[in-house]
Symmetry: C2
Subunit: 266 residues, 2 copies
DNA sequence: CGCGACCTTGAGTAGGCTCAATGCCGGTGG
DNA sequence: CCACCGGCATTGAGCCTACTCAAGGTCGCG
């Protein structure tokens, strides 16, 4: 009865990344590699000092481990230092919808500060390193650092904006359009944070099942659709790395507004 | 070629609500009718005073007028005082995806403070009254009122959470499930802000085309699906007002987590 | 070598889409 | 007063996109 059930097997690693394992600071905030990227704004000395006190440690998460679990509550907030993850929701019968991907620089768990329990899960796609913050610190951040709290809001607004795009895709685009759009989106995000050697190459450890669950398609149909894109030499996909061979064509297929995409973020 | 084109005619009223027409305060913030509702937290005297200076006036918008236009930029932020609206995105060929509905108490236009241009449009469903704020005021708000800025973030996180649910629906639920879920969601939201005489009755001036564009379905199929729900006496729908006749059944159809739904907001 | 994780491909089905008409108001103008 | 029109809901018919079921195939690993 339910359409498009995600017929995937049980997660191989139900292991949960435990913040108690967090190591006490390894990358000092001053030399945070993320701060070099131009998508991020520069902190003032004061802000930097505060962030150092706000950060309680680092968490290393293995690929496949859970950062958040829907229905559970979490006392922590994270920032992605390195690695990738995805945020998703499940239906009781196992159908899965991936909501978005988490890249370095993303702020995770804000919703938990607002709801009792998490309304979504997050699973690491690769080994990750995360900065750990205490929820209570967030309130202190708002009280003492308007700039930073504005940033938090900025981040929230931006991720809402990405969700909007995703919803438009899933609701109104055809399978090819969705695939094309997703690939462009991922390429853009990866490029922003310097994850890709070239703006056209993206190394991201996802399976076609992930793509299917992102786009609201079945695994089989996703496979065929991607196959079509590959046969037409629009993209290439091998070993968890895909390459955009013909960006114009891909953008055309996606109905992607290029201008909109390359606007600087901050 | 494009599936599920929204074959609707051009909007009857391309008129844009112009903030220049905004009347200089009519409802004083002290007696804002919204503050009575228990979903909203109580302001301190200081916060109340600030909000009064932040608010620059009121805007009355006719049903059908545009509050925001995708691609345009706006110098204003709004809070819905009364009336309803919906937020949507269009594809170049006219397909439309409705992202969410805007209820009294909602904060509109935050994304514009973060992006250059709006990435979505908002259209009034009924005649509305909105409180108007200047964007610059927002920065001042963050600087001087941690509590209020936290609220803004709270609101943003909550609307992101609603988008998550919506994305799950559109991506992974069947047509009946989507309809059922949407109706429950609307009923809940309407009830929260006291829009409904009974928690089971919702007066909301939308057409089936709106529902279709919300759920990522075609108009015809939406009609049939709703028809099915009505034949089974699960809901009733007449004259822009629908009534939930059998909430248990509806929730069951939706796979809706009731517990999750009735949790108090603040 | 066997097993598990993933990708591919074929075949048949069905949920949802498009096209096209019809019916039902409520408003408007002759 | 009535004819007409526009906006909306409804229904029938036929089609097609995307789904399900079911095999393989490949590769890496214990």
């Amino acid at each position: 009865m339910p359409p498009s059930r995600s017929n995937r097997t049980a997660p191989k690693k139900p292991s949960t990344a435990d913040p108690k394992d967090a190591v006490r600071r390894q990358v000092p905030c001053e030399s945070c590699p993320l701060r070099k990227r131009k998508v991020f704004r520069r902190f003032t000395a004061d802000e930097l000092a505060f962030v150092k006190t706000f950060k309680t440690g680092e968490l290393t998460a293995e690929a496949g481990s859970m950062l958040f679990l829907e229905g559970a509550s979490s006392a922590h907030l994270y920032t992605v230092l390195s690695g990738l993850a995805f945020r998703y929701k499940l239906l009781p019968d196992g159908r899965r919808q991936i909501l978005n991907y988490c890249f370095p620089g993303d702020f995770l768990g804000l919703q938990g500060s607002v709801m009792e329990e998490m309304q979504h899960s997050i699973e690491a796609l690769s080994d990750m390193v995360l900065c750990v913050f205490q929820r209570e610190g967030l309130w202190r951040l708002f009280e003492t650092h308007a700039g930073l709290s504005f940033d938090v809001t900025w981040l929230a607004a931006r991720s809402e904006q990405i969700l909007d795009q995703q919803l438009l895709s899933v609701g109104r685009r055809s399978a090819v359009e969705r695939c094309a759009h997703l690939l462009l989106h991922l390429a853009q995000r990866a490029d922003e944070v310097g994850l890709s050697s070239s703006p056209n190459k993206v190394r991201i450890p996802i399976t076609q099942q992930h793509i299917a669950d992102t786009l609201g398609l079945s695994l089989v149909h996703t496979n065929r659709t991607l196959g079509q894109l590959m046969r037409n030499r629009v993209v290439r996909w091998k070993e968890h790395e895909f390459e955009i061979l013909n960006r114009e064509r891909l953008a055309e297929l996606a109905g992607y507004d290029i201008d909109l995409a390359v606007r600087p973020l901050l």
